[in-house]
């Protein structure tokens, strides 16, 4: 078999197509060539370039867990040219994927620790990968807590999985929607993520926090985590900068001397605080 060119994507067949919210979708993708699927592996935190042939490429994290092999999943919001075109694809259609790229969440280093996930809106996908990864290796970790918020009930992604996690005895799930975003049936919290987190006040003892969300949420949540006793090197996040190549060549995703694609996307806030404000 000829060596695959660096920019040549795997051909992937859409095996499942889930509408998460009116403008967010999840695709399950299977490798068209079985042998490529067999040799493919990745780790939690990595991302890839997904493409519609003729429209271009877009960057999304791999939202499924590396413990589930044979397929990958991505969850994306309809934004511009590529994502709009992707959203109109159906089960059975072929799209491109190249990856996995980027660094990882160091799950191996977290054995024996508790994990706290704090996230909002469409930032759950990168953490969903870690959550399932940790749940599939449940004995490796102590407490697992997930605090997840969205503007309205409609905007929560992975609704079925949230229900499933809520029922499990080994995950503490707190969901919340912004005031005014609730429905009559809503049983979760009402309030912004930082407020809800403060109220829940999870322990920071032997705990790693993973924080992904819109900039404003991150800004308001960091002081709360600090108050709870998390030092900046115990809080992990992912950065998103516009990307093209995904491998440190095209030159656009840098924050100071680091390329988010190659040296990230996973950073601790101790690292982020050393970076110039270019993200």
């Amino acid at each position: 078999m000829e060596e695959k060119s660096l920019y040549q994507p795997y051909l992937m067949r859409i095996a499942a197509n889930i509408d998460e919210t009116p403008d967010v979708k999840t695709f399950r993708l299977e490798f068209v060539k079985e042998d490529e699927g067999k040799s493919f592996s990745f780790k939690a935190g990595q991302f890839g370039e997904y493409s519609v042939f003729g429209e271009g490429e877009s960057t999304f994290c791999i939202a499924s867990s590396p413990t589930r092999s044979g397929y990958i999943e991505c969850t994306f919001r309809k934004m511009g040219r590529v994502t709009k075109s992707l959203a109109s694809r159906e089960v059975g259609d072929i799209i491109g994927f190249r990856g996995p790229y980027g660094n990882i969440f160091p799950l191996d280093d977290w054995k024996g620790k508790s994990l706290l996930f704090v996230t909002g809106g469409i930032a759950l996908p990168p953490l969903r990968c870690v959550i399932w990864n940790a749940l599939d290796l449940r004995n490796n970790f102590k407490d697992i807590t997930v605090v997840y918020g969205a503007r309205t009930v409609r905007d929560l992604v992975y609704k079925h999985e949230l229900e499933e996690w809520g029922k499990r005895g080994d995950v503490k799930l707190i969901t919340t929607v912004d005031p005014g975003g609730e429905t009559v049936e809503w049983k979760g919290e009402v309030g912004f993520v930082p407020t809800v987190l403060e109220k829940a006040s999870p322990s920071s003892a032997d705990t790693v926090a993973l924080l992904c969300g819109p900039p404003i949420m991150i800004k308001l949540t960091l002081p709360i985590l600090t108050k709870l006793g998390f030092s900046q090197d115990k809080i992990f996040t992912t950065l998103e900068n516009r990307m093209k190549c995904g491998i440190g060549k095209c030159g656009r995703c840098n924050v100071g001397k680091y390329f988010v694609c190659k040296d990230g996307p996973v950073f601790t806030f101790a690292q982020v605080s050393q970076l110039p404000p270019e993200y």
């Binding site: 490429e57 259609d93 491109g96 001397k257």
Partner: protein, 337 residues
């Protein structure tokens, strides 16, 4: 140690013939209405007789302005990847100035370190560089400030230095250079044990590049960038003429059910370069983009890839429509305390 020989200017015609029959295309500087551009030639007669520097570098042989990354065909639900037509042809580039030859180290660092870019690799593997030392320079040249010199051998497979009207010193530097000399050994005579420096231009050292690299992180927030870039119109010319700029964009183009994915030169001077689809832009204003250009070349690349992303060719300053001058700006930056 380089093998040093001499070759007569009048023998170049014979050498070019041998190179052509060896199956290589020859690119050489040709005068097009005062612009000195690399074009395909068969004989040295077409080469521009006198010039300080080529208007554009030969970079686009190794990294074309727009090149095919892959080729595909769609049929209903299926997609087929087709064989790419982007296959390099063996090429010899004649008359590359030492600064431009030096820039290949920057391209190599970006494209071959970490992930090997096979599209670039094939091009560099099939390209031979015959440099020609500079006998003249202008006020924009500053190769000696960034590690080069008018007779620098770095990046060339063979370097020619004109000793007098009819004699070139030929330094045979690499296996590719040896292969060229081996095509016509009779043209390369003994007598190369000469001092070439007196035939090379005298380019004064204008700044200490190590000092610059060391200081740049400390001036990141300095207003100097705003003062410098107020007149920059973000046209990207400086990147397009730069032999050491490597950034690109990826775009698909289709014709019916067939298409190609292309990579095209891009520039950190464009607002679009870093613009997120959400509308957020980490480098929102031109001063941040100008800073990126300088930081990338003189701080990030030395730190991360051990190369200086500038070879001092001066093209950006020569061609900028609003007379931004990189040398002047570096001098200003070094004066920030």
């Amino acid at each position: 140690m380089a093998d040093k020989k001499i070759i007569r200017k009048s023998s170049l015609g014979e050498l070019f013939k041998k190179i052509r029959s060896d199956g290589k295309r020859i690119l050489a500087p040709v005068d097009r209405g005062g612009k000195i551009l690399f074009e395909y030639v068969d004989s040295p007669g077409s080469i521009a007789p006198d010039y300080i520097q080529t208007t554009l570098s030969a970079k686009d042989t190794l990294l074309p302005r727009c090149e095919e990354m892959l080729r595909f065909r769609t049929e209903q639900k299926s997609v087929y990847l087709e064989e790419s037509l982007n296959r390099p042809e063996p090429t010899l580039i004649f008359g590359v100035r030492p600064c431009d030859a030096r820039s290949i180290a920057v391209l190599n660092a970006v494209y071959l370190i970490n992930y090997t870019d096979d599209i670039y690799r094939q091009k560099i593997d099939t390209t031979t560089i015959v440099g020609v030392s500079c006998a003249k320079c202008d006020e924009y040249c500053f190769c000696t400030s960034v590690g080069g010199s008018p007779g620098d051998t770095a990046g060339s497979d063979m370097l020619l230095t004109q000793m007098d009207n009819d004699i070139y010193l030929a330094e045979i530097l690499t296996d590719k250079g040896k292969a060229i000399a081996a095509l016509a050994p009779e043209l390369f005579a003994e007598g190369g044990d000469v001092d070439k420096n007196k035939h090379c231009a005298d380019v004064p050292v204008r700044f200490d590049v190590k000092d610059l690299s060391k200081r740049l992180p400390g001036v990141f927030e300095d207003p100097v960038w705003i003062a410098q870039s107020l007149r920059c119109i973000g046209c990207g010319t400086c990147s397009y003429v730069c032999p050491a700029c490597t950034c690109f964009d990826i775009q698909d183009e289709t014709d019916g059910n067939r298409g190609v994915r292309l990579r095209c030169w891009d520039s950190c001077g464009f607002a679009q370069f870093t613009l997120h689809t959400s509308g957020h832009n980490p480098r929102e204003v031109q001063s941040q983009r100008w800073r990126q250009r300088i930081m990338h070349k003189f701080s990030y690349q030395p730190d991360q890839l051990d190369v200086i992303g500038c070879v001092g060719c001066g093209r950006c300053s020569r061609t900028c429509p609003v007379d931004m001058n990189i040398l002047q700006h570096i001098t200003d930056i070094l004066e920030v305390h």
